[in-house]
């Protein structure tokens, strides 16, 4: 195992200096012999062991004795650590490719591949759902597309989620392209929702004249970036109550920055032909909060912990790229793009 470690190190060194190439070849020969169940005869393992323990002989013979005797075992442990950390590294790369973060779908730690975290598609939520997942229905939510469409896409999204917002024009284009065949249902999965909704706390628009700062309203355990997501979801439903869900939804999703303050949400409704007073009252209507909570809980039961999650023909897709989403729809429709 010492030779295996030596091979790792010496191969790297040999890339930069010919001095280490004979040693690297020795290490390779040694490893090859071990792999083919033969004895390593190069003596490289002995030299490495002596190099590691030699300095200790004079100053701490006891430690040298221990190290010399158990270096092979320690090397095994180290190799296992190397293998483990390599696997972990690979998993991190996979996560980065798949979710935009080394830490996967639910991790929120630092990612060396994306220090700023700008590529993360991670919601930051841990929904802690246990048990079997339940395929979600449309929840009676507003739908875009014909009622008898061959395919219903159910999207769980949050207006504070950059990926949800970015997917809006993509989804809309798909629905436009398959106007007679595809129906889109948007269900709320506000990413500040877990604590807000479960605690049943006020959403902050009781005094609609106050401009609640975006971050000040964040529940204690929710990701700060998603504070106000529930409020935005309720606002969309309030617009929907006046028949303007999709228009408002589009505005929320395509605004340069996520709008989550009460004043901002009311402002966004202007020009859509809604009754502003009714809209403002609606924002504090507990019925609306209940609806959003139902969407959220259906999402949790469906196993969702990040947005956007699309259910296409019942199969979930998490934050797909436009191409992936388009291909999935085409596949579900069983044909080619028109």
């Amino acid at each position: 195992m010492l030779c295996f470690l030596g091979l790792l190190v010496l191969t790297i060194l040999a890339l930069f200096s010919a001095r280490y190439q004979p040693l690297a070849r020795e290490a390779f020969d040694c490893v090859f012999r071990r792999v083919t169940l033969r004895k390593c005869t190069t003596g490289l393992d002995k030299r490495l062991k002596a190099r590691v323990t030699g300095r200790l002989v004079a100053v701490h013979p006891g430690a040298a004795r221990f190290l010399h005797r158990h270096l092979e075992t320690l090397a095994w442990l180290f190799v296992l650590l190397v293998v483990g950390s390599t696997a972990n590294l690979g998993y991190g790369f996979y996560n980065y490719y798949r979710y935009g973060s080394c830490n996967g779908s639910t991790g929120t730690g630092f990612c060396v591949l994306d220090p700023s975290g700008t590529h993360s598609r991670d919601s930051g939520l841990v929904t802690a759902h246990r048990g079997e997942t339940v395929r979600p229905g449309d929840g009676g939510n507003p739908a875009l597309g014909p009622a008898g469409a061959r395919l219903t896409i159910i999207e769980f999204g949050s207006y504070t989620c950059p990926s949800t917002r970015a997917s809006e024009p993509v989804v809309r284009e798909i629905v436009r392209r398959h106007a007679d065949e595809v129906r889109l249902v948007f269900r709320h999965f506000p990413l500040d929702g877990l604590d807000t909704l479960r605690a049943g706390v006020a959403i902050g628009c009781e005094d609609s004249s106050s401009e609640t700062p975006r971050r000040a309203a964040a529940p204690a355990a929710a990701p700060d970036d998603h504070a106000g997501a529930t409020r935005a979801a309720i606002a969309a439903d309030c617009a929907g109550a006046q028949g303007r869900f999709w228009e408002y939804h589009q505005r929320l999703a395509t605004a340069p920055d996520a709008i989550v303050t009460c004043g901002g949400l009311i402002e966004l409704a202007r020009g859509l032909g809604v009754d502003e007073a009714a809209f403002a009252r609606c924002l504090v209507d507990s019925t609306m909060l209940e609806h959003v909570r139902r969407d959220f809980e259906d999402g949790v039961k469906a196993g969702i912990d990040r947005t956007p999650t699309f259910f296409i023909d019942g199969s979930p897709m998490v934050a797909p790229s436009p191409e992936e989403l388009g291909e999935a729809v085409d596949r579900a429709l069983g044909g080619h793009r028109p």
Binding site: K46, K49, A50, G54, R55, A58, H68
Partner: protein, 395 residues
């Protein structure tokens, strides 16, 4: 005359900072500054061909080579400079004899059973030509005498074993071989650097030694051959410098040692070798031998205090500066490596190119400490202290 190692050490650059304990002299000796300067002078002042070029640089090379050959003659107490052939090392010298001696199929060569591969493999190679190799016990003159049948054409013996420092009775060995009317080659690689050698007094026919074991540059060696003994050899490595004249049909080979020195020579090495010889002459080889024996007694007495140690070879009084030992259950290479890494002590471990002896005796290997003129009692003490610690770690 006695050796003052503390004064001599100043001449050897690797020893000047006092951090290296060099006990691998049986493999390669260190070089004094005088030798290094001589080699450098060749490359900086007259880096030219010998025996070919008439310009002043070429003439200087010829002069230096002549001085070196004369120094070698003096060193071995040969009668004539024509009896001195420059070689690359002892191995080259023995091979030169092996492949130039007029053997015939059915002939036999006798060696001891404790030979360095350099004095074993060349003879084994001759089996391709129908020549047989036989081995007799090291130092056993009776067995040697009995082995000298009419089929034997040459005896080749190591003078001092590189394995354990034991020496044969060279004078009696030569006498026994000559009584049988046979020539003898002595491998003096471990003898010439450490003891006074007189080839005339020994009456030996051929003698080989290496420059790099006697303070000389790498790639230098000597083959001594009595004039008539050299004349019997048929050069096998031929080319530039070996002939008086050549035509498309044949060549007239030179009479002197140059006919065995094909191609351009290692002039820098030859020049350096001369200075090494002169250095040894100034110190005195008998003084060197006495110094080594004193240190070896100290070394062996210290070794005997360590547990589970086996010391190979004869008592300290009967060996030169080489001591081989091993600890029961401890790998000799581990000892060697840890001595180096923990205390900067250079010794050799393994089979020392005497695989045949180790295989015959079922011994895995030994640690070999070989001393020379610049080693000191303090170094031996440091070695024994470090060895005790290493033994404690490995036992």
């Amino acid at each position: 005359m006695t050796v003052d190692p503390y004064r001599l050490r100043r001449d050897f650059p690797p020893l000047r900072d006092g951090r290296l304990v060099y006990f691998d002299n049986a493999c390669m000796a260190l070089r004094p500054q005088a030798v290094i300067d001589a080699v450098t002078a060749y490359y900086t002042e007259y880096p030219a061909c010998g025996e070919r070029s008439l310009h002043r640089l070429g003439r200087r090379v010829d002069e230096e080579v002549s001085l070196a050959r004369e120094a070698a003659r003096r060193f071995l107490h040969a009668r004539r400079v024509e009896e001195i052939v420059f070689t690359q090392n002892t191995t080259h010298a023995i091979n030169l004899v092996a492949h130039s001696f007029p053997f015939a199929p059915g002939d036999v060569v006798v060696t001891s059973d404790q030979e360095h591969n350099s004095n074993l493999l060349p003879w084994q190679q001759l089996s391709r030509h129908g020549v047989e190799h036989r081995a007799v016990p090291f130092g056993d003159l009776e067995a040697l005498g009995a082995a000298l049948t009419p089929a034997v054409k040459l005896v080749s013996m190591v003078m001092t074993s590189n394995l354990d420092g034991a020496s044969i009775d060279a004078r009696r060995t030569v006498e026994v071989v000559h009584e049988a009317g046979l020539p003898i080659l002595l491998d003096a690689a471990q003898a010439a650097p450490h003891r006074e050698l007189d080839v005339r007094s020994l009456d030996v026919d051929y003698l080989a030694c290496s420059g790099h074991k006697m303070l000389g540059p790498s790639g230098t060696g000597l083959l001594y051959g009595k004039q008539d003994a050299l004349a019997r050899l048929r050069p096998t490595l031929v080319g530039g410098g070996t002939v008086e004249e050549s035509t498309l049909q044949g060549a007239t080979y030179r009479e002197g040692p140059e006919r065995f020195e094909a191609g351009l020579q290692n002039y820098a090495g030859i020049v350096g070798l001369r200075h090494a010889i002169e250095y040894l002459e100034r110190v005195g080889r008998e003084a060197i031998h006495a110094h080594e024996q004193r240190l070896t007694r100290q070394l062996q007495a210290g070794l005997e205090q360590l547990p589970n140690v086996t010391i190979f070879g004869p008592a300290a009084e009967r060996r030169g500066g080489i001591t081989s030992f091993a600890f029961t259950g401890i790998d000799v290479h581990d000892v060697c490596l840890l001595l180096d890494e923990s205390a900067g002590i250079a010794v050799r471990s393994g089979r020392h190119c005497v695989h045949s002896w180790f295989n015959a005796h079922g011994v895995e290997g030994t640690v070999r400490a070989s001393l020379y003129l610049y080693n000191t009692e303090e170094e031996v003490t440091a070695f024994l202290g470090a060895l005790a610690k290493v033994h404690g770690v490995l036992a």
